[in-house]
Symmetry: C2
Amino acid sequence: MAEHISKQFDMELETIRTRVLQMGGLVEQQILSAIDALMSGDIAKFDKVIAEDALVNSMEVTIDDDCQHIIARRQPAASDLRIIITVIKTITDLERIGDEAQKIARMGKTIYQSERYQMPRFREIRKMAEVALAMLRRALDAFARLDASAALELAEEDMRLDDDFAAELRQLITFMMEDPRTISMSIDTLFISKAIERIGDHSKNISEYVVYLVKGKDIRHTSLETIKRETLGH
Amino acid sequence: MAEHISKQFDMELETIRTRVLQMGGLVEQQILSAIDALMSGDIAKFDKVIAEDALVNSMEVTIDDDCQHIIARRQPAASDLRIIITVIKTITDLERIGDEAQKIARMGKTIYQSERYQMPRFREIRKMAEVALAMLRRALDAFARLDASAALELAEEDMRLDDDFAAELRQLITFMMEDPRTISMSIDTLFISKAIERIGDHSKNISEYVVYLVKGKDIRHTSLETIKRETLGH
């Protein structure tokens, strides 16, 4: 990227990229804590996740602000501009992943604080969360290394996660049918698995922005076949 | 905005603003059609909504592309840059509202095509949809007129819609408890009302970008009280 007007500018871009990865790390931690709390019923941990979403939000606002200052001050060339627009979009999805972590914590707290007829079981939820977390890590890696090939993997993983959600939904409906006393808790569990499914969607979005950044091609809303062609070059 | 470098540039910005409003109109129509089909059980109409989401998606990609070309070619000053960044964010939310309309159509189709023990009742859903549609129209008006005052109204309406969703959820749980045969249809109905609740969230987001555009202040993630202060100036 020879068109950078100064080393100072390179440093500014590098700082922003580092902050995005820090924000990603925080969001990842939020999901981990929410799922941990779900397994143990740790109310204090739920509360911590709920409270720390404000930190995720403020990181988004700060990075967004920095990006706009850089564009206005530096008037970057097209390739640098693409980096900045990619950051602006990426942090929107990271912020929403943070919201989903907060939702998981809220729902979990509701489940553990309500009178329950039986202990909640979150085995499938934990499996889904592991897939979603791996997707988020992969998307952040792709962002860090400008690796366009991740988009294909994430599109496939996302379909797997959608299937897992559909399976969880069917199972919850069966539970509810068999024993209507489980309805309330099952609905809360349903929203938790929906939140995890959305974390997968947002991670996929991030990997698609990286393709745009690297290849200059917008592959959102395209089929898996086309993504394969665009990212692998065959 | 005296810093525009040319009339040509003004025209380009105006064209983009017009396209955003056209995209908003299409998304509004998608919601209306999905809700209409929900009331009448019109499968062909559901299919049309599902198919036309591709049109919403392609509008987003096109406008997004145009915005990036303008930034790269015109190197706009800060105030014009704010307009363009606002457009990029607004169309992301419009595209997601389109997704929610498509989800409503998919769920509605599932309900009408499954063997049902009783006719679905969508009276509350329709009421919620009317609130969400009014929010979307208000947000688009605010965008067209650069009206920062809408954000406060929309924040309040959004809280009302969240309450409506909570009430609908409680009612659906009651139905399911009383008669487990309604569980499957109730879950589909629950996802429809969740989709409508999200349309409200996205409309609120759009009105917040307008505040940023007009006042240069980012009011996302702030309390209603603070929004009141920032947008009304007292």
